[in-house]
């Protein structure tokens, strides 16, 4: 069988890049890390990197290939989309994973590249590209959830700096973050136009972080309190009052990164095909079919939904080649992704019966304990990043042209 490289050669202009990428990856990926994604989980928090992980992170960071399509001038890989695809293929081929990630890569970086000043880009982008700075998102407040634009955290103009007072909540990874990109109010007389986009150092005096314990027992989110926090004026992104526009753009990046979830988890449960797990717990009938006919059909509906979603992600990716960024259709995909993640978790718990509801300790397998937590955590998916109801509002307004009720 011909390898991908042979198929590319010699007329394919990407063949040279493929060969370069292959050599570089072979030389730099520590052998022990292949196929062992140590990706720093946003949910469980960072762990101290092993020497291998540190070396791999540094190599990828120096090369800029953790953010392959970002401009090389800011520490990115400077690759074309086609080259980035080749890099991804070559990484997948040898089980190399991307050690550079988090909110800086998914949301803040792309937004700053679009709206930041030259100085801001020079200061922040290369450090995201090298995984040196961990960012968190300061958007929601106790009184501003779905109605995000009603946020109250105030940044008072003090001449050479802003004095920030207020509270953020659902700050993902706030307890581990170095910096926060926040939406703040700079004008109390206007709703949307009174919002600005401000970068806040989490080590500043007056910043206090309290993890929130969720129904799943984990604490991936925090309440973050800001009391008389001084923020330099240079940390304003865009103009005063432009925060809502910039913040919404960032949310589009967030949705598009979140919508992949339902597909990427595939159709596996506890590392096995769903059908196999179901048969192990529930048994089969004389014809070898899953014995619970009702559960069987609901599993099939879920399988089909997942398959249709993956085909749609693929189609959207092909169609988006001509567009510059995520479209409003992302809202559709976010809702379907959430539905699939939640359905799979509910089905998993149902398949396992009482064993799928274990909390901790003896008498449960690791997969069973994980299933309980996955199921509970999954309830967040249709709430964060704009609830499913908010996504439906967006679809109705932006895609279907349905106007607001007066």
């Amino acid at each position: 069988m011909a390898t991908a490289a042979e198929l590319d050669a010699p007329t394919d202009p990407l063949a040279a890049f493929r060969s370069e990428a292959r050599d570089w990856l072979a030389a730099n990926l520590p052998k022990a890390l292949a196929h062992k994604d140590g990706g720093l989980s946003a949910l469980e928090g960072p762990h101290d990197p092993t020497p291998d992980e540190a070396a791999w992170t540094k190599a990828m960071g120096d090369k800029g290939w953790g953010v392959p399509t970002w401009p090389a001038a800011y520490g990115g890989g400077g690759l074309s989309r086609a080259e980035a695809r080749v890099l991804q293929e070559e990484m997948a081929r040898i089980g190399a994973w991307n050690p550079i990630g988090g909110m800086g890569v998914m949301m803040f970086g792309p937004t700053l590249l679009e709206y930041g000043t030259e100085d801001q880009k020079q200061e922040h982008i290369p450090r995201i590209a090298r995984n040196e700075v961990r960012w968190c998102q300061g958007y929601s407040e106790p009184g501003a959830g779905s109605d995000l634009a009603s946020l109250q955290m105030f940044a008072e103009d003090k001449g050479d700096h802003y004095l920030v007072n207020g509270q953020k909540t659902w700050t993902s990874g706030g307890q581990w973050a170095d910096k926060c990109f926040a939406l703040v109010r700079t004008d109390k007389t206007k709703k949307h136009e009174g919002i600005s986009f401000l970068l806040i150092d989490m080590t500043s005096p007056g910043v206090e972080v309290k993890p929130i314990r969720l129904i799943s027992g984990s604490s991936p989110f925090c309440e973050t309190f800001f009391t008389d926090v001084k923020v330099p004026k240079d940390n304003l992104v865009g103009r005063e009052g432009e925060g809502w526009t910039i913040g919404k753009r960032l949310l589009q990046h967030e949705r598009s990164s979140l919508s992949g979830g339902g597909g990427s988890a595939g159709r596996m449960l506890a590392g096995k095909p769903l059908s196999q797990v179901a048969k192990e717990y529930r048994g089969t009938d004389a014809e070898g079919r899953l014995s619970d006919a009702d559960l069987r059909m609901r599993l099939i509906r879920h399988e089909m939904d997942t398959r249709a979603f993956m085909l749609t992600l693929r189609r959207a990716a092909l169609e988006a080649k001509s567009n510059s960024g995520p479209s409003a259709a992302t809202s559709i995909m976010k809702n379907v992704g959430a539905r699939i993640i939640q359905d799979r978790a509910e089905l998993g718990v149902e398949i396992m019966g009482m064993a799928g509801l274990g909390w901790e300790g003896e008498g449960f397998s690791e997969a069973e304990l994980a299933q309980t937590r996955t199921w509970l955590w999954g309830k967040a998916v249709s709430i964060y990043g704009g609830s499913s109801e908010i996504q439906n509002n967006i679809v109705a307004k932006r895609i279907l042209g349905m106007l607001d009720h007066q």
């Binding site: 189609r315 559709i332 279907l400």
Partner: protein
Amino acid sequence: MAVLTEEQTMLRDMAREWADNESPVAAFRRLRDAAPAAGYDAAAWGEIGQMGWGGIVVPEAHGGSGMGYLSLGMVVEQLGRNLAATPLGAIGPAASAVVLGESEEAKADWLPRIAAGDVVATLAVDEGPIHGGAIATTVTDGRLTGTKAFVAESDSAAAFVVAAEDGLYLVTGDEGVTRSPRRMADARSHAEVRFEHSPAIRLGGPELTAKVVDYATALVTAEMLGLAEQAFGVTNDYLKTRVQFGQPLSTFQALQHRMAKMLTELELMRSVVEGALEAIDANRSDRDQAVSLAKAVAGDTLKLVSREMIQLHGGIGMTDEHDAGFYLKRAAVLEAMWGNAAYHRERFARLNGY
């Protein structure tokens, strides 16, 4: 929309333009009222023949363009948007049966005429009202005997591709053939067809039957996609014009969310329909799964959209004067044709180890 070649894009745009200009829903309404014996619009079919759409899946060597099922599906989708009453959807899989079949004589005799739109060919498989039942039709000494139920476009068909116990046969001419029309809610051509010692040419075994039934099913999902998109679009337009409580209905959030949900399902439907057509063109081994996925999702989605079309139009949607009923009735026939959503979920379940 799948990523299309320039040729495919031109074909799709041409089909859309033709359907909008020459075959609006008003044309279907006239046909329904006139109820011609053939069950389709002869003048429109003549134009389609001229444009060569009858030969989209017929190889160039036999007078077609050999563009394949994604191409034919896009045309069928565009015609489906306006409920264009043509036998195009029935002809494709019947032609494929001859193309893939073992009779060179049948290819030479029939493919050029099918491609030119001179004759109508159709599949005759089921023997009862539910797809997937036993097939009792037999062939002895080149003569076929059996009764086929709900054969689409059979009022005008000159060639039948007939499933027998041991495979697929081509029956042409009228010898031993009796058609009994079955007037159905969609006002299209369906009939029971009885074959008694009709001369039959063998095309292939049961695996060929399974293959062309998948082809026919995939094309039906393309028509369903056209219906669903148009039913949805018409409903969205209506909600913006109908005023109650001093506001267009489209400003009510309860309705906005129902529309957003339908659009979501339509996006998934398009993906699976195109996926099935592409699986056929690529001759992929998981064609059966791709087709069952498409028919099940298309069935559920068209059911949702066509029923909501009536409900969201309110009283006007219940009147014969409005087109909503046409969409509902054709939708229900297409949902049942070649197996409903439940049938295809069961098939998909078996193919996936459940």
